[in-house]
């Protein structure tokens, strides 16, 4: 749908061209598509989202095993025995269906946490960058302190203190909060830096001279122009959040059973690692390759959205 490049270049400056906007994104998409690893990562993520969505249905209709049913007759079976494609764990629960159900937790954490971080980091970064002065100084001092706090330790303490009971998505709330608390600072810093550099550009000066309000300046000029790096940062935040949740589950302070999570499965598997190593290997690779897929997407997006990469 994009206009031919030559036509755009030749045309007189028209401030109301929506095509320009479409051009940026379709151009980025073109470059993203050429990155084979990024497309592979996107494929894996789409597959995982599909799995997470349909696995409860599959369990409901009995197509895959019930992930929390203990089948005493087949405890610690290797892959492919008794209809357990990936084997079973120490309690005789089917590894494959636990993996499929576990993807729900990882994906929810990874994606939703970014939804929390985005408005917070954006608001604070924009305010600090735009108004500068004392607010900016306060934010930067705050950030310095926040950086001295190792994020994993902070998340561990918060989650152990604020744990709640209920179904898994309710238990996730303090985990969301903790991960968002440690991660918004990075985004706020990035947005601030972006705003600081854009603020000095001529087009901002022009917009201000023509009487735009601060709100319009921020929303119509600064935000769209710093969107690329923000999207990339949020994408790289996804594997980070998934990692933190998996570690929490692994250390035994995350989501409690019976809801399966990948971190918990690795921890359970190590209990009986000599009897059945596969019950560690499958969830371990699930975590690793999911994180890998997201970082491939992040790399692809960074290359695609970087204006310097454009021909």
């Amino acid at each position: 749908m994009a206009l031919p490049v030559a036509a755009v270049e030749g045309a007189p400056i028209d401030w109301e061209v929506p095509e320009q906007q479409v051009g940026l994104w379709s151009d980025a998409w073109q470059r993203f598509r050429r990155n084979r690893l990024a497309v592979l990562g996107l494929g894996i993520v789409i597959f995982l989202v599909g799995v997470a969505l349909i696995s409860p249905l599959l369990v409901h209709f009995g197509i895959i095993h019930d992930p929390i049913k203990q089948q005493v007759e087949s405890i610690e079976t290797p892959p492919g025995v008794n209809g357990h494609l990936f084997g079973t764990d120490i309690l005789g629960r089917d590894t494959l269906s636990r993996l499929m159900l576990g993807s729900q937790v990882s994906l929810t954490v990874g994606l939703l946490v970014q939804g929390i971080i985005f408005p917070i980091g954006l608001a604070i970064g924009l305010t600090a960058g735009y108004f500068g002065g004392r607010i900016d100084n306060l934010l930067m001092r705050f950030t310095d302190i926040w950086y001295a706090f190792p994020d994993l330790l902070f998340v561990l303490v918060v989650v152990s203190v604020w744990s709640v009971n209920g179904p898994w998505f309710v238990q996730l709330i303090p985990i969301f909060g903790a991960i968002a608390l440690v991660n918004w600072v990075g985004l706020a810093r990035l947005v601030r830096g972006q705003v600081l550099s854009i603020k000095e550009k001529e087009y901002i000066e022009a917009a201000r001279a023509s009487g735009s309000s601060p709100l319009k300046l921020i929303l119509k000029h600064m935000l769209p122009n710093s969107l690329g790096p923000i999207i990339v940062t949020l994408t790289f935040g996804i594997p980070n959040a998934i990692f933190l949740e998996a570690v929490l589950s692994f250390l035994g302070v995350g989501i409690r059973p019976p809801q399966p999570t990948w971190g918990q499965m690795v921890a359970d598997g190590t209990e009986a690692i000599y009897a059945n190593p596969t019950s560690v290997v499958f969830p371990a690779f699930a975590i690793g390759f999911t994180l890998l897929a997201f970082s491939f997407i992040g790399d692809g997006l960074r290359d695609a959205l970087d204006p310097r990469m454009r021909r």
């Binding site: 310095d144 001295a148 190792p150 604020w162 570690v247 692994f250 035994g252 690795v266 975590i287 690793g288």
Partner: protein, 342 residues
């Protein structure tokens, strides 16, 4: 001769100018270090405040037992009294700060009669051993791989290094640790009939150290290798490198004297984050390999709500990280003469 007399004596002028410059540089460095050290005080104070608030906003008390018999009210009251939990929160906080200033981090709730300082002191040798070993792996392997990959850009060596770095950056260290146990402890034991394998956990000053330190080092190695590669690639495109080649220096000289010296400057900055990573990594690695260090003690404290222990370890960790960052920043000034202190 008149001309020579009017000209400033080079030999006399230059050294004194140099000493002046060096003196002011060292003077500002000292000021900088002092300022940074003073800045650590509010940082540590805020870490204590945040952790303290978190601890006291928790529902329930540290004496709650999960399931089973609860302690009687009399015992709970006595425990509260013993550990000062019956006082107002603000008073507890002031008391804690006062004690911390005297290096008294309180008594552990979990281990009777043991102080936090004793517990941390007991775990310290294990954590430090693993950490030092990992650090000894990170710098040579990370830098070596990075330089090699950059010098042989777009060859198999390069692709292998980048691939390795991407993979190990994506696999969390508890996953890598667990997978290493599967392969080097379980499967190797089975395949070699028990002849050759690595112990899956525990402590000993021999092969027990291999897997924990490699697990801990893997991600920083990947990080360092990536950064060294990028910075070396940038360096070898510089004009002075072309000059070095053009004047006929051997590859060895060009690489060691001209490329390495310049491309390692940005790598030094990663040592700060690396140190922070070693600290947090110890929490996971010590759990995976059942090592009785501080990291393991922290996890136990978190799961059993041992507040003084959590506070003590958090303060210790943040002091270590802040100090490591300071050392790195000062080191940077010495390595790169262009750095200005602000």
């Amino acid at each position: 001769m008149a001309v020579t007399a009017g000209r400033p004596k080079r030999g006399a002028l230059l050294p004194s100018r140099l000493t002046d410059a060096t003196n002011s540089r060292i003077g500002s460095l000292v000021l900088y270090v002092i300022r940074r050290l003073l800045w650590m005080i509010p940082v540590v104070f805020f870490v204590i405040v945040i952790t303290f608030i978190l601890m006291h906003s928790a529902a329930g008390s540290p004496w709650d037992k999960s399931g089973g018999r609860q302690l009687s009210q009399v015992i709970v009251d006595n425990l509260n009294k013993k550990y000062g939990l019956d006082k107002p929160v603000f008073q507890q906080f002031l008391l804690y700060i006062w004690n911390v200033l005297h290096f008294d981090f309180g008594l552990s709730y979990q281990y009777q009669g043991k102080s936090v300082v004793e517990l941390i002191g007991g775990g310290w040798p294990y954590t430090a051993t693993i950490g030092v070993l990992a650090f000894a792996l990170i710098v040579p392997i990370g830098v070596g791989l990075g330089v090699l990959a950059a010098l042989r850009q777009n060859t198999r060596v390069d692709y292998a290094t980048v691939g390795f770095a991407t993979f190990s950056a994506s696999f969390p260290n508890f996953v890598i640790g667990s997978l290493m146990i599967v392969f080097f402890s379980v499967l190797l034991y089975k395949w070699t009939g028990g002849q050759f394998f690595l112990p899956a956990g525990g402590w000993g000053l021999d092969d027990h150290l291999i897997m924990p330190s490699v697990t801990l080092a893997l991600l920083p190695i990947a990080y360092t290798a990536r950064l060294t590669r990028a910075s070396t690639l940038e360096t070898i495109r510089q004009d002075y490198i072309r000059t070095a080649w053009a004047k006929g220096l051997s590859e060895r000289l060009v690489v060691i004297r001209h490329v390495l010296k310049n491309s390692l400057i940005p790598v030094v900055t990663t040592l700060g984050p690396t140190f922070a990573f070693l600290v947090t990594g110890s929490v996971i690695v010590e759990t995976v390999f059942s090592i009785p260090g501080i990291g393991r003690a922290f996890v136990v404290a978190v799961t059993s709500r041992d507040y003084p222990m959590i506070l003590g370890t958090t303060v210790l960790f943040s002091v270590i990280i802040a100090a490591a960052n300071l050392v790195v920043d000062v080191l940077y000034v010495f390595i790169d003469p262009r750095v200005r202190l602000t």
